[in-house]
Amino acid sequence: MAALTIRDVHKRFGTTDVLKGVNLEIDSGEFTVIVGPSGCGKSTLLNIIAGLEKPSGGTVAIGDRVVNNVAPKDRDIAMVFQSYALYPSMTVRQNIVFGMECRNVPKPQRAEALARVAKLLQIEPLLDRKPSQLSGGQRQRVAMGRALVRDPLLFLFDEPLSNLDAKLRVEMRMEIKQLHQRIQSTMVYVTHDQIEAMTMATRIAVMHQGEVQQFADPETVYNRPANVFVARFMGAPPMNTLPARLEAVAGGVRAIVGRGEAAVALALPPAFATHAGREVIMGLRPECIAEEHRRFGEDNTGLALEAPVEMSEPTGAETIVLLRIGGERALARVSPDMRPQPGAMGRFSLDMRRVCLFDPKTEALIDSARA
């Protein structure tokens, strides 16, 4: 059953089109992450779902009910805000039960729900503190508690982890994911962090300039990005995108990157033979360019390549290498043992199984080897 249906939603502020016809159908129990750079309209979309803003056009339905004219409190939703939005003068306990108080839930039921949530989130020792006495992570947890104390049709999250430091963010990410696995509620989660999207979502909606670019499961988004924007937005460092020409050769097809003497020919998997002769943008993720002798997966030894190195950056766990393929810049992630010197030639191994091809004009995905 669709838990949330968004049909052709538009939003216009003054002369700016913030949302240009968004369509999403989200199933019950899904964990949908809406991800995109700042200004892509993702928070506006969430506010429209919550009823905190009105769409300029289109409909929003929660369950079977169109809610365009329903007040936020009657939409049967709960929301976690980026700023946490805890009521500063209330204790944690009061924060959590405030919604039930407004809805005149009987006291014994309030206490029961509070106890359940406090146990679930392990915030029992914090119940009598004020928000100002909590750390960032604890506030985040209380904000979750305020949402979880009800049993709504829909949980909305507006970048709930972006005010936490890096290490805490990783922990809370895991916890929210485990929480979803336990309670199996429908969740819509907005973030600008592609790692959060990749690790938490059952489906990811990538937004850009007020439009949904791709709406698919994480593996598809990462390995078969719908267009160059998605390819470069998801993953860090971003996917290398090299202009190339496909050329049929005996027994297969190869991609020519660069022109004249600098040109490099890279053998592609046979499946790409159908595109021979086309100009394309070839996408190759940095982790698909590794040191010589790296084995990708069980049996793949990779395609050998010698290329000039421009810079290498050792991070400890690995070394990021900036190299040139046919004159085009590309990033590689190699073993930390390897420290190629700027100016020298380096020897690399390429995982061509994971190449993506994009149309140079529309920037849309043409084909990717790993279907």
């Binding site: 919550a50 936020p72 409190k73 805000f81 700023s83 939005a85 209330m90 919604g99 407004c102 809805r103």
Partner: protein, 285 residues
């Protein structure tokens, strides 16, 4: 900053500091010293000087014996009048200003900018322009020459400042709090009472101090709309000045002024810090 500033700068800073100190401390000192000098001593020497004999009797005279316009009960009854006007007017104007500021800043209803524009008009309109309208209003509601009339005037006049203060302060309350409360199902008054009001002490202290000080010190309305025993102390002091015009009684006059200023000085001593702090405070830490 912990390091010493450049020495020329430092000299200048202290020059400014001393100037300010003189400007604000010397007048206070003159009045306080004169309040404990006898009329003869002031007449014989000058208005500025250290008391030869401490004439504390000036205070008892000013408080309960002195004659002001045929009534010889000192300024005591007028102090009570001032309190009876100032306290209710301060409370009412602050309470209404808080609600108005809350509605204007956090609810953004249609026309909120216009309403706020009108409210700030009250900061600029000269008191004299409001004398005639108030005369009419007081006559029509039958509160001429009553303390209740002054309470009404000060409450409504004060609304412009209290609303301005509260509105500016409430602007710093994040809209996310309002959104969360709306999703939780709270309405206008519940949000005010449970979320906004508990955040308000810093600004309520500012408005209370401001209103108390200004209403207490105000005298134009007092002089214009009340007479005789209905006057607040500031108006009575003017009558006192008139009474002593023939025989200068600077000592008693200074003592009366000091007594009249005492409530606001106490407010300054105990509340000044909170006033300044509240002016720059944001609602949410």
């Amino acid at each position: 900053m912990n390091t010493p500033p450049i020495s020329a700068s430092r000299a200048l800073i202290y020059a400014i500091a001393v100037l300010l100190a003189i400007a604000y401390l010397v007048p206070l000192a003159v009045v306080l010293l004169n309040s404990v000098r006898s009329a003869e001593e002031i007449a014989q020497t000058s208005m500025i000087g250290w008391p030869h004999a401490w004439a504390f009797g000036n205070y008892t005279t000013a408080w309960s014996d002195f004659c002001i316009a045929q009534t010889c009960s000192g300024i005591r009854p007028y102090m009570l009048n001032s309190a009876l006007v100032t306290v209710p007017a301060t409370i009412l104007s602050t309470a209404l200003g808080a609600v108005a500021g809350y509605a204007i800043s956090l609810w953004r209803f249609r026309g909120h900018a216009w309403i706020f524009g009108l409210v700030t008009l009250g900061v600029f309109l000269p008191e004299q322009m409001r004398l005639i309208p108030w005369t009419i209003v007081l006559r029509d509601v039958g509160l001429t020459n009553t303390l209740a009339g002054l309470v009404m005037i000060h409450t409504i006049q004060g609304l412009s400042f209290t609303t301005l203060f509260c509105r500016n302060y409430y602007l710093s309350i994040p809209q996310d709090l309002m959104k969360a409360a709306r999703i939780d199902g709270a309405g206008f008054f519940r949000i005010f009472a449970r979320i906004v009001l508990p955040l308000s002490p810093p600004i309520l202290i500012v408005t209370v101090i401001w209103q108390f000080t200004h209403i207490w010190n105000e005298f134009l309305y007092g002089v214009t709309f009340t007479t005789g025993t209905q006057q607040p102390v500031t108006a009575a002091l003017i009558a006192l000045s008139a009474s002593v015009a023939d025989i200068p009684q600077h000592g008693v006059q200074s003592a009366a002024v000091t007594i009249a200023a005492l409530p606001t000085l106490l407010v300054y001593l105990f509340g000044g810090r909170y006033f300044v702090r509240g002016l720059t405070a944001g609602a949410v830490k």
